[in-house]
Symmetry: C2
Subunit: 409 residues, 2 copies
C-alpha cells in the first residue's frame, strides 16, 4: 500500500498551469523511498473531492490532498473529509486565533464568514511553519489523510518538517526504491537505446528506461530492494551504463548542463564570454542561472542586427555580404570577436534561424552555426533543428553549451 496524491484544482483539468505541488511532493516522497502509487486531479467540488478521497483511501494507507489557493486546505475539502472519515467539524481555536490576529493587525473587523476557515474535522493536527501556509493531518488507526497547500514550497516544508516525522512509524518499510537519472547529450534516443541494449529488458530488481527530453536523453535506473542492498545495486548498474554512455553522459539527477559547464570552467580556471544572435540572450541566461557564475562569465552580447555584429564583435562586412549572418564564417568571427573584446579565455557564439520566418532552401529554418574560440583555434559546428522557434532557441543554446563542455573535458 503506497501513498495516494490528490490535487484539487479545476485549472489543471482545464489544461492551465502545471501540478507543481504534486510533483514536488511526489519527488520528495520518492527520494525517501516512499513511492506514490497513484495520483488524481479533480475540480474544487465537494462531491468530487469526496469520491476521490474514498478511492484514495481504498488504495493507499496515506492520502495527501493538495488543495486551496491563498489559504489552508479549502472548505469543501474539509467538509468532504469529515464526511468520509465520519468525523464532526469543530472550531479549531489555534486557527481562529491566527485569523483574529490577522484581521486585528490590519485594523479590520473579522467577517463572520471567515470563522468557517477554522472549522476542521475533530482530531485534526494542525501542521504549520513560521512562514507559508498551514496544513492538517488526520491520523486514524487504519489510514492517514494529510491536507497540504497548493503552494509547492509550503507543501514540501510541511511534509519534511511535520508530516513525515509524525507518520514515521506508519511509513517505515523494509523495502526501498532508489532512482538515478543519467543525462545524455549528443546521441538521439535510438542511439542511446542501441548502446544500452540488453539493459532495457531490465532485471528482477531493476528497470532501465530511456526518456526523450528536448535536446537530451535521460536514462532512468530504478532499483528496489532492502536498504543497503539497493544502494549497492544502483551503483553497480550506474557504473555499467556510464561506461557505455561515455562522455555523452554529462551528469545525473538534478545536475544541469549549464552547471556542469560552469564547474569545468572553474576547475580549469577559465573565463567565458558569449555572442548570441538567434538565441537572443538564452545562452547567457542559462549560464547565469548557476549561482556563482560571475566567477567565469564575463559578458554576453546579443547582436540581432548586422550593424551590431560589426560594431560590437568586429564581424567584417565582407563576411556578412559574402556568407551571410547565418554562416560558419560569421559564427567564427563572432566567437573570435567576443573573446578579443572581453579578454576572456574562451568565446562562444551562436547564429542561426530560429523561425518561423527567415529560412531559405540552402539554409532552412532551424539551421544554426556554433563556434568556440580559444587562444589558438576556432571550432565551428553546423546543426539543423526541427522544432518551433522556442525549441530551436533552446536546442541552439543546448548544443553550444555541449560544444564548450566537450572542449573542456
Amino acid at each position: 500500500m503506497g501513498i495516494q496524491l490528490i490535487t484539487v484544482s479545476a485549472s489543471l483539468l482545464q489544461g492551465e498551469g502545471t501540478d507543481e505541488a504534486a510533483q514536488a511532493v511526489a519527488h520528495l516522497c520518492f527520494a525517501r523511498g516512499l513511492p506514490i502509487a497513484g495520483r488524481q486531479i479533480i475540480g474544487e467540488d465537494e462531491g468530487e473531492v469526496e469520491a476521490a478521497l474514498r478511492l484514495g483511501l481504498e488504495r493507499g494507507q496515506l492520502v495527501i490532498v493538495l488543495s486551496g489557493s491563498g489559504g489552508s486546505a479549502g472548505e469543501p475539502v474539509r467538509r468532504a473529509l469529515s464526511r468520509v472519515l465520519g468525523l464532526r467539524l469543530i472550531l479549531n481555536e489555534k486557527i481562529l486565533q491566527a485569523l483574529q490576529t490577522h484581521y486585528a493587525r490590519q485594523e479590520r473587523a473579522m467577517p463572520r464568514r471567515a470563522e468557517r476557515l477554522a472549522l476542521v474535522p475533530q482530531g485534526a493536527i494542525l501542521l504549520e511553519t513560521a512562514e507559508g501556509e498551514p496544513g492538517l493531518l488526520l491520523d486514524t488507526e487504519s489510514v492517514a489523510v494529510a491536507l497540504l497547500p497548493l503552494d509547492p514550497e509550503s507543501a514540501v516544508t510541511l511534509a519534511v518538517n511535520q508530516l513525515f516525522p509524525l507518520l514515521q512509524e506508519r511509513l517505515a518499510s523494509r523495502l526501498t526504491t532508489l532512482v538515478r537519472t543519467l543525462k545524455v547529450v549528443g546521441p538521439d534516443i535510438g542511439e542511446v537505446e542501441e548502446r544500452l541494449g540488453d539493459w532495457l529488458a531490465g532485471r528482477a530488481d531493476c528497470t532501465v528506461l530511456c526518456l526523450p527530453q528536448l535536446g537530451e536523453v535521460w536514462v532512468r535506473i530504478t532499483v528496489r530492494g532492502s536498504a543497503g542492498v539497493a544502494e549497492a545495486a544502483l551503483d553497480e548498474v550506474e557504473a555499467a551504463l556510464s561506461e557505455r554512455l561515455g562522455q555523452d553522459c554529462y551528469g545525473r539527477d538534478q545536475e544541469m548542463l549549464e552547471a556542469v559547464v560552469g564547474r569545468l570552467l572553474i576547475d580549469r580556471g577559465l573565463t567565458l564570454a558569449v555572442a548570441e544572435s538567434c538565441t537572443g540572450g538564452l545562452l547567457g541566461h542559462r549560464l547565469t542561472e548557476v549561482s556563482g557564475s560571475s566567477r567565469y562569465f564575463e559578458r554576453g552580447i546579443v547582436t540581432y542586427s548586422n550593424e551590431a555584429k560589426t560594431a560590437l564583435l568586429g564581424v567584417s562586412k565582407a563576411i556578412l555580404t559574402r556568407h551571410g549572418a547565418v554562416s560558419a564564417q560569421c559564427a567564427s568571427a563572432m566567437a573570435k570577436g567576443i573573446r578579443a573584446k572581453a579578454k576572456t579565455d574562451l568565446g562562444l557564439a551562436v547564429t542561426g534561424i530560429a523561425g518561423p520566418d527567415g529560412g531559405s532552401e540552402e539554409k532552412p529554418v532551424g539551421t544554426v552555426f556554433l563556434a568556440l574560440a580559444t587562444a589558438d583555434d576556432v571550432k565551428t559546428e553546423r546543426r539543423r533543428f526541427r522544432g518551433n522557434r522556442s525549441q530551436n532557441k533552446w536546442l541552439s543554446a543546448q548544443f553550444a553549451l555541449d560544444l564548450l563542455r566537450r572542449h573542456l573535458l
Copy 2:
C-alpha cells in the same frame, strides 16, 4: 458525464517532468466546450492501468489514455483495455505493415517480439497522421476509449484531426463552457481581489477566480450556458472586470507580456536595445521569443563585470565606485549607454542582486534597479523581490518589460 484523462507514466509519480500531453489535451477539450471531469496518473503496470480504466469508464463517457514512450500506446495498456472491454487482442495488418516497412528501410530483420506491437483489441480504429505517433480508438455503444501517445504534439494532432470528428455525435452537448483569463501585472493578488470584490462571489452562470503567478496575477472567468448566450455573458463579464483592472491588465489568454510589448513597439514604430546585469540575458531571451522581434529589437548587452559595464555601456568609474553596480545611477547610465551605442529609440536596463550571495543590509538579495532611457528622459525604479535566484531573474525581467509597457501606453 464528462471526459476522463489517464496518464500512464511512473516518472510523473516520481515527480519527474510535467504531464504535458494531458495538459495539452485538457486545454484542447476545454477550449471546445468538452470539460475534463477528472484526471488520473498511474505507473506503467497492467494491473494499475486496468483499475484506472474501470474507474474512468464508471465516471466518464469518454476515457482518453495517454501512454507509451517512443512508440504507440504500450502493450500493457492494450492488454488491460482488451480485458476491461471484453475484447480479444488481434493482429492489426496496417500496424504490422508499418513495422515491416520500418525495419525493411533500415535493412534489418524484424524481431519476432516486435509483432506484439501490432496486437490491438478487436474493433480498434487506428488513428494516425503523416508524421508523429499513432493512436487507437475503441468506440462501443456505451463508452469510448482512446489511446493517444504521450508526445503532446502527436496527441493534440490526433485528437483534433481524428478523435473529435469520429466522436462528434457522442460529444455533442447543448451546454458550452467558456473561459477567459485576464493577465494582470503590477498589483499583488490581495489588491486584485480587493478591486474585483463582489465578482469573486460569482453568479449562477459564471465564476471568477484570482490565480497567483510568478510576477503576475491571472483572473479567470468561467461561463457556462447555451451557445450564443455564453459568449455574450463572457464578453459582458470581461468588460466589467477589465474596467476595474485598467492598465494593470496587459492581455488575455495566451498573450505573453513580451508579445504585448512587441506589438506596442511596432505600433509606435520604435526600436529597442537592452543592457542586462543580473538577468544575464533573460530579458533579451524573452523579447526574442516573439516571432518578428528583429523588427524592433536591435541588440542586447549582458555586462556581468564592472569592466564590461564601463567598456560597453560607458558607465563611468565614478558611478561604480560611489554608488556601486547595483544602484539607480548605474541602471540609468546603462540604459542611456545602450540607447546611445545601439542608436535605438529606447534603452532598457536591469541591474541587481539575484542571489543567493551578494546581498548587504542596505541592498539585500533581490534588490533590483530598472531604467528606461528615451530621447529626453531616463526613468528608474527600485524593486525588492523575495524569490530564489531564478525567480528573482524572472521577476526583474518581468517588471522591466512592464516598465517599458507602461511607457508605451
